[in-house]
């Protein structure tokens, strides 16, 4: 099947298998391995990417379903030779241990940032919104701190 994706800003036309998942196309076909696969059933969130600006599970979408869509992965959210503010916050606040969950969290936080109503959230709301990605290493405190630094910057 031939599909066209706007991948990290570039239109890409690809021939893919019908049952190929978006995460497989990204990882196996295009070598974009920042998108991790931790469960293949939508729970862990490691594979979360932005699909038309909205966080979505790359393990739960067939690539053929995404024909014509805008897909953004962590590769696309990473400046060439610097770190984005969210990436900096992750490093600074101890939000990263093994790094397997990190791309998923960064996609979710970018989605929340674009959505733009996180500024007034209390701790509980922020934690609930971040509860779409699992981290088995950090216990989340560092991730929540980093997310707050990005979504609720103190001027």
């Amino acid at each position: 099947m031939r599909v066209t994706l706007v991948l990290n800003g570039d239109a890409r036309t690809l021939d893919v298998d019908t049952t190929e998942r978006l995460c497989d196309t990204l990882r196996e076909r295009l070598d974009l391995t920042a998108t991790h696969v931790g469960c293949s059933e939508g729970v862990c969130g490691a594979c979360t990417i932005l699909l038309d600006d909205t966080p979505a599970r790359a393990c739960l979408a067939l690539t053929v379903q995404c024909d014509g869509a805008r897909v953004e992965t962590l590769e696309g959210l990473t400046p060439a030779d610097a770190l984005s503010p969210a990436q900096q916050a992750f490093v600074q606040h101890g939000a990263v241990q093994c790094g397997f969950c990190t791309p998923g969290f960064l996609a979710v936080i970018e989605g929340l940032r674009r959505q733009g109503d996180a500024a007034s959230w209390d701790e509980a709301t922020l934690r609930r919104e971040l509860s779409t990605v699992a981290c088995r290493c950090t216990g989340y405190d560092g991730i929540v701190r980093a997310a707050r630094a990005v979504l609720q910057p103190t001027p």
């Binding site: 059933e41 962590l74 770190l83 101890g94 990263v96 397997f100 609930r128 088995r136």
Partner: protein
Amino acid sequence: MSATDLPPRPAALRFVRGEGQYVADVRLPHMLHAFILRSPEAHAKLEAIDTDEAASMTGVRLLVTGTEIAAATAPQPIVWDLPGQRRAETRSLAHDRVRYVGEPVALIVADSERIARRAAARIRVRYGKLPAVTSAEAAEAPDSPRLYEDWPDNVVARANWLVGDVDAAFEHAAFVTDGVYISRRMAGLPLEARAVLAAPDAARNGLTVWTSTQAPHQVRAAVASCLRMPEHRVRVIAPDVGGAFGTKSCVYGEETLMAYAARKLRRPVRWIEDRHESFTSSVPGRDETVTLSLAFDAQGILLAMRGRVLLNKGAEPYAASIGSAWTGGMMLPGGYRVPALAIEALGVVTNTTPTGAFRGYGQPEVNFAVESAFDEAARRMQIDPAELRRRNLVRESEMPFQSTTGLVLDSGRYHALLDLALAKFGWDAARERTARERSGGTRSGVGLAFYVEATNMGPSPLCGMVGVRSGGFDVCQVRVEPSGQVSVFTGQTPMGQGVEAALAQLCAEELTLPIEDVVVIHGDTASCAYTGYSSGGSRGAGVGGSALIGAARKVKHKLLLLAAHLLDANAADLLLVQGGVQHRDDPTRRRSITDLAQAAYLAASLPAGMEAGLDERMAFDPPALGISYGVALCEVALCPDLIVRVRRILFAHDCGRQIRPDIVEGQIIGGIAQGLGTALYEQLLYEPDGTPRTTSLRDYDIPFAADMPPIELVHLETPSPFFPHGAKGVGESGVIPIPAAIANAVRDAQSSGDASLRLDTVPLIAGLLGGA
């Protein structure tokens, strides 16, 4: 130094850019893909396997069954072989019999994973059902189904500790507690499941195996022995590891299988564990029943302990054997003075996935028992549970203290830390407040648990004494490159805990270099130092760090000698400061490490007898374990809409010197999260016929961000006398006391409520919902 002032971990800088390289990210030309057909039966004879249709499918390259593997490979090695332990010739594929759902039955290698999966669906296996047994208690019964016909029963091994006159102590006791405390089976669940890629390696006429493991050298030994190859022909690489928690500390049949297939096909073969299969194919942990009786005198002084640790080992003796039960037995006295004790630890086989290591390794299970029993005793004596601990903890003046099972408590200020924690938590006030709330109808309560954690696993003689078939030492090599920067080669394997950053920091400190000048190379048996035990047992920074310090100090010594020669000075008058060696009285007489490295490698003018180059190694074998300790306090409320709401946790601990406080904090909080899962809801259940009830992350609840309570940490640093840097491990601390602390708080909250609820099993969800 606050966490945010520390230099960033180099690995973190890569990970946030998505530039980590996990096994599944490694792609090789001509790579093939494997799928493993697993048994749907818990216990059955393998009567016939028909692979014809699958083998003839387009794209299928290889199909292997247990008969071939039994003939072509040696059995999987046992790493922990206790005296008297029973054996099973376990291979990487089942032959004759399957003993658990998930046991590998056939290997399919194909052009794509999808083709391999489709082919697997076309393999027909005839199973002759046998009666199954899933619980350790049932497997112990004389009439239980047997897993191994040549064994007299289902017991893998047992160990005993007998000290003092226990019967007399119980006879004279003023208070006795009796309890049975169950920690159910749970999954380590690293977010990256396992993965193996094996490829022929023409240069060494052998193989390279990439695997997500904590123990590359053990995998190398296993693959070599199973394939009957010499070890120097096998190279094992552990690239970035996406979490491990003990799950990846043992060697697995899949490593042998992929190596076998790659050799046979002369092509790279990759297997990626699916989360579904991981619930039956990766070793789970816990699944222990601790039967415990404590005898106290009228003043609340502990007189004696009777304990039994029964481990459900699953279907195979496998890998670390009954190590977690043995560790639990040894750790039962914990930080307390126990004059007399009788302890038995044993493991039995059942028709379930073999259990292995999971963070805590027997320690949370016995901590849950002992700390629950202490609370029970305190309730009966009507004294503050904290006070009962105070009366029995080993005092600072008694350190180092040999506990009754032989464990040496190296150092610590147990009472001081306990009091500090109680004060910070506001223990007395919280007890009063929750008591008031309870009389007002809100079921809230507080609880605490004291723990000790055995860390810095090693001494090789101890390993040898208890049958661990790998040395307890660690080797580190420090190489100053000609340009003056340093490559460190460690046997440690980072799996997210950040040990590489701690090592870099220690090296930078020893050699007075900026941390950017140090690179730590790890996870490759071809380049890294040999380490038997590798990463596990909370030993990375402690033992690996000590080896590093030893090697770095040798480098430093050589730098001083070389500088003395070049500066025409006396080495005793020279100092290593800010990346150079200078004269103590005249800082202008100075040679930078870069200058010295160049001199060492040019070797044109070296002191007589000095070897060229600047490269040192050290094997460090710890003289003893390092015993970290601490106390967890928590406050809970029981709500109608949730089982338990943990309102807050205070965690006070002492792991000796903290090399990187940010890593310590990450380890503790991450451990607390897993402890919370253990305490409240994580469990792997089986149907009576051996069918697993949990094979999906949809059904296995782990904590997410919203599930974590506010956590406050309190640190004390009492250096260990046995390690040059004074550091002990902290990898398992967080997880150990949390189940007991939460259970004790729930008991407190329940104290005026329904006494029929069973709170002696974790996760507590079982007892709190009423019924199984």
